[in-house]
Structures are given as structure tokens and as C-alpha cells.
Amino acid sequence: MGSSANTVTGLTQTMVLNMGPQHPSTHGVLRVVLELDGETVVKAVPDIGYLHTGIEKSCESKTYSQAITLTDRLDYLAPLSNNLCYCLAVEKLLGLEVPKRAQYIRVLLTELTRIGSHLVWLGTHAIDLGAMSVFLYCFREREEILKILEYVSGQRMMTSYFRIGGLALEPPPDWLDRVQAFVEMMPARIQEYENLLTGNRIWHARTKGVGVLSAETCIAMGVTGPTLRSAGVAYDVRKVFPYSSYEEFAFDVPTRTEADCYARYLLRVEEMRQSLCVIQQAMQKIPPAGPIRTDAPGIVPPQREKMKTEMEALIYHFKIFTEGFAPPPGEVYQTIESPRGELGFYVASDGSPKPMRVKVRAPSFINLQALPKLVEGRLIADVVACIGTIDIVLGEVDR
């Protein structure tokens, strides 16, 4: 029920409207309770939890290796980012060093995922605001990324390809040719999206000056990723706290100062170009042969060959897959730059083969907090633009 007030023009009453959880532009199952004065949003209260599956609790009853498959299901548009962050956290807990070849392959694949995630964002954001064709184009290119992921890992989406200590399996010999073909194709395709949107007057009207969030508010609210960078703060975990050899790669962290939906659009498009640049460097760096897993008996599964021929390796293999391994007691916090912002994994061990606590610092969860600040005082049509622009994935918000 809304509230009423007696004004000079008579009695006015606000109306309460439920947006979601089945509304298509809430990108999943987000419910926003809107209090409206005509078409103006007076108050917005996000209501989450419709997708809560207790992933953090489930992790506590799995071994460290088994929990990887659960991380895929958090941010299902960038599963490899979650795999990477979780593996880095457990590797930090164990004090494991990953071979350079595996690190570069990880970088390449996570950047591919970033492009894929930004493509889904661009396509759905555009279709929310009425531009149908961009959506179809974006999904066409995303399909190419998924094909590469399938070729490498055997899975299109829930790859679980990164494992503790390295990678699940050796990529097929000619996989880099496919990546090369994609990298050659993509710049022209990005230009195609820009041709459709960047100078489009309807697009301008729907995004320029909409959803402005200042840098101070972003930092106070903990908002990271493209939303923070669109307010002029060049905070990118890949640069500030490098991981997985990112310090060896040359790329820019694009920033804007307008801090509106349009700025975030330009920013994410530029980020796709920067990711292509990182992928090209990674292709140069990846050695044609070499270990993809670190040599850590009892923690990292032995090579198939060894397992079939050496007694020791067979015992380790058996132990890893039956009882797991026990890291020393302690706690670590590892962050990476996911497509949505700072993704963090807090992993605490009590010395048993199952994690005592796994906490996911989901960027979508934190960024969604700022939604009322974006939409209050604006028109109801802008709510759709604002939900789109912060790029949430409800799997990660609700966990």
C-alpha cells in the first residue's frame, strides 16, 4: 500500500508495484518493490533470495576438489572466473605454485569468458531497451566462444576446467587456431554493435544521464567493476593486485567520468577490445608444450600414464579421489576481477579434507545494493536500464 499526502493540487497517493520476480528485464529472479508517484519512483526495495541454493553450505560438505563444480553455478555467465578465483584461493591456502603454461591458458580462457559475459550483458541490455538485433548479433559471437570452451574442456558452460594446481586436461593440439580465428573476427563484430548503438538517438535517450552513481558513493557502497570505473576510478584487480601472471600482460583499464548507463556501455565495449589484446598476448606466451599441472603428490592427481605404471601414483590417485587432501589450518582471501567487479573467495581450513568455510564475495550482490540509489527519483522506464547497467547475475547474488 502506498502513502498519501495532501498537496495544493489535491490528495495524491503513491502506488506500490511489484516488479519481478518473473519480469524478463530483471535478468533472472530479482524482485523490486517500487513505490511510484505517477511514473516517478519514490522508493525501490530490492528483494532477493529466490535463487538461494545454499552453495556456501554445500561447499562445507564437499572436498576441496569437489567444490569446484559448485563455483561454476554462481556466476553462470562467467563460470571460469569463479573456477579461477576458487582455485587461486585454495592454491594460496596450500602454498602451491602453478606452472606458467597453465597460468597463461587460464588468463586466455578467463578473458574469453569476460568477452562472452559482456556480450550477454550487451545483448540483454539492448533488448531491454528495445534494440532487438544487437541481442541476436551478440549471441551469435558468444556461441563461438562457447564452442571454443567446449573444444577445450568438453563443456560449453559449466566447464570446471581449472583445477587446484592447474588445469583439468591438456587442451587439443589445434585449439589456438580456433582462438586465432575468433580474435581475427571479433574487432569487426564489435564495430558492428557500435554502429548499431553508439550513435543511435534512441539509445542515447535511454542511457545518457540515466543511472548516475558518483565515485564516492560507489566506494562507500563497495561497488566495483565497470560501474566504479565509469565514475573515473581506475580500480581493476588485475592491475592493483595481479594474479595468475597478469602483471606480464600489457592492457589498458578504460575509465569514463560520466558515470551513467551510456558511459558503462562504452566502457564494457572497450573492455572487450582490451580482452582481445590480452588474448593475443597470451597466445604468444603459451608454450606449445609443458606441464599443465603442478607436481604436488597427494594434492594434484598424477598423470594418467604414471597412474597406470607406478604404484605410488596409483595410491595418490586413490587417496585424492576418496578422501581428498587436507590443507594446513588457516584462512585466505583471494580476489580477481570478474566481468562484474571484484570477485572474492574466503576459504578457511581447519586441517580437515573439507573446507570449514567458503564465502563468496559476489560482485553482483554488492553492486545490486546500490540499485535504489540509481533509480529513486527517476522514471519507471529507467529502472529497466538501471538493472541492466549494473550487470547482475542472480545465481551469484543469491548463491
Binding site: 553450505k57 591456502l93 602454498g95 563497495g222 561497488v223
Partner: protein
């Protein structure tokens, strides 16, 4: 002993000690991450100091989470993962809470972004944050019984 001397030389630890010697209950370093355990009564003031002091500038609260060490007492730990964006440094602030009185002061006036994370900890662990503007359950329904991330809550659920 050498290790503990080394951690005493840490910039943040020295500044905290100089500010208020009682603010540090314990300091630990593990895999390059520094943890400062603060007494519950001083948490809010320490948070204000760490955020507001220009030499430290831990302006970004990256994460706020809790751990249950049941049956050990004090069983709960609340972890605050702080980032100083200007100095490129991270710090973990920790406060220990007993199972009989799981209450701690809110840090929302220091970092407004702590609002949802504190609600989440309240929802899943039953830790109350004194002075929180809107302490309701966030991911579970309002009529849910129990706090699922507590160690004495079965994985299969209570029923």
C-alpha cells in the same frame, strides 16, 4: 619469535598500536595476508580509524563474512576484508563473538556497503548487528527457523 617481530613492524599494526594499544587483541600473518583481531567493544572505533585516517585509507569494504567454529568458544568470527585503494593494500579485521551473545556493533555508518552483507550474516548465522538500519533476513524467507550456516544446522535441513 622472529615471525611475530616481523609482523609487529607492519605499517598498519604499528599505526594501530600507536593509536590505541588496546585495539589489537592478536595479530597474525598467513600466506601474505594480515589479520588483526580487535576486541568487540572497540570494533566500531577501529573501523572508523582505519577508514578515516589518511595514512591508512581503508575506504573500501570488500567483504564482510562470518565463520562458525562450533563447538569451540568463542564460536563466531566476523571478518572484515578491507582494501586501501590508494595504497594497494589489504587487511583482514576480525572480531570474535561468543555463542551466547552474538552481537556486534554495525559498521554501516563507516562503510554503507556493509548493509546487505551484515543482513546476510544475520540471516545465515544469527549474529545481530547493533544499530543496523534494516536488520531483516535477506536470502531466506522471513519466517524461516534457524540459521543454516551454523555448524549445528544439518546440511539436509532441520526437517
Amino acid at each position: 619469535m622472529a615471525a611475530s617481530n616481523h609482523i609487529e613492524q607492519h605499517n598498519v599494526v604499528r599505526q594501530l598500536r600507536a593509536w590505541d594499544p588496546k585495539a589489537i587483541e592478536e595479530v597474525r600473518e598467513f600466506r601474505g595476508g594480515v589479520t588483526v583481531v580487535v576486541p568487540r567493544a572497540l570494533l566500531r572505533r577501529t573501523a572508523e580509524f582505519l577508514c578515516g585516517e589518511p595514512q591508512l585509507a581503508f575506504t573500501l569494504l570488500s567483504d564482510l563474512s562470518s565463520t562458525d567454529r562450533f563447538p569451540v568458544e568463542p564460536r563466531f568470527e566476523v571478518n572484515y576484508h578491507l582494501v586501501s585503494m590508494s595504497r594497494r593494500e589489504r587487511l583482514r579485521l576480525k572480531v570474535r563473538l561468543s555463542g551466547s551473545d552474538p552481537v556486534v556493533e554495525t559498521v554501516t555508518p563507516v562503510w554503507p556497503g556493509a548493509n546487505w552483507p551484515e543482513r546476510e550474516v544475520f540471516d545465515l548465522f544469527g549474529i545481530r548487528f547493533e544499530g543496523h538500519p534494516d536488520l531483516r533476513r535477506i536470502v531466506l524467507p522471513a519466517d524461516w527457523e534457524g540459521h543454516p550456516l551454523r555448524k549445528d544446522y544439518p546440511v539436509e535441513g532441520p526437517r
